[in-house]
Symmetry: D2
Subunit: 116 residues, 4 copies
């Protein structure tokens, strides 16, 4: 599996199958899954907790840290996909529509290299 050839739908089915086999749907309500995304996001943050902006390259050279970061990002992704499954949200169209709104909110000419 790789990002070039894998659809979002295929990843969603992988998650749905994993959850269904274990009959975990009753736990996977929207409230619990939203909290789970936040919990995993915090574990990702932990890898950068005390690093200054100019120290972040350190992580790139640390294979153990990189492996853990990759796993944390996978955990977040798992819950994002499960949330989409639980609420029946099409992620690709949700993202495309949100980014179209953001493109209007942040026109290129006005926001090049800045946020405000």
């Amino acid at each position: 599996m790789n990002d070039e050839h894998t659809t979002v739908g295929a990843l969603r089915r992988m998650m749905a199958d994993f959850v269904a086999e274990r009959e975990w749907e009753p736990f996977h309500d929207a409230k619990n899954l939203a909290a789970s995304i936040a919990i995993e996001a915090a574990e990702l943050m932990e890898h950068f907790q005390w690093l200054r902006s100019d120290q972040l390259a350190k992580v790139q050279g640390d294979p153990k840290a990189l492996g853990e970061i990759r796993d944390e990002l996978a955990d977040i992704t798992a819950y994002v996909l499960s949330f989409a499954n639980a609420m029946d949200i099409d992620l690709s169209s949700a993202l495309a529509e949100k980014m179209a709104k953001n493109a209007k909110k942040y026109p290129v000419e006005r926001f090049r290299g800045r946020f405000d």
Copy 2:
């Protein structure tokens, strides 16, 4: 765009283009993006903050809430994809490998309907 026909790679390029056009890469370091995922996850949680487990169906019947939830999930997804771009992580293989580990950690027979 929809999940059945959209690859993760296509979504990643959509995000990369958006960020590159605005020259936002300097802001999009791993530390800031991890915090951004957590910030958006908290905004998603906010929709369920005071609801008991048995009240969650209320949200499903509320089109305004559903639209906001869809937008929040899109925001989280945007930062997950940007994080994958910033750290050059293949999300599909990261997820497949993490779920293979989870399948070993939570064998179906032992964990059907339970977590512990």
Copy 3:
């Protein structure tokens, strides 16, 4: 030490001394401390991650879980106090003023037993 006889200022000094002895002030900037509060809050959430509202009493009867929860709450408190130290914010007056605003925003007659 107990809440009846301990001032917020005494707790703030306990934290300031701990940090100063270790010369950790350079790490304890506002951005890192805000993230640290969020990280510890997520660890607290984890104890309730998959529990339905009607299962929360289980935790109250579990001394091991209670001990861990108490430690997580202490961790959050430690970073809240350190943040107040780093930004020179008086917590007691900040809270009193915010709750005065909240009292106006949520008048008792209108919000008894409800949030909206």
Copy 4:
């Protein structure tokens, strides 16, 4: 009210009274309050979301941002105190005991100016 002369117990009673007057105890279970701490922590993080470590002084010179940060810290504190009320945890002794553990875990000689 100020930190020098205000006990943690006094702040806890302020919160308990606010909640009791509005009969909000049924909403204020441990799971919801833990999520609420995380939600408010994320709002605090938002003020530093895109700032590099060397740009944090900007916030100190911005009275509007400082006022908002003070309010966010008050919100976090409010939920920490409410959590302590809901679970009947003495914050001062919980903190003192956790910091005693931390003092053993991070002896001064070994951890001066470093975390690992």
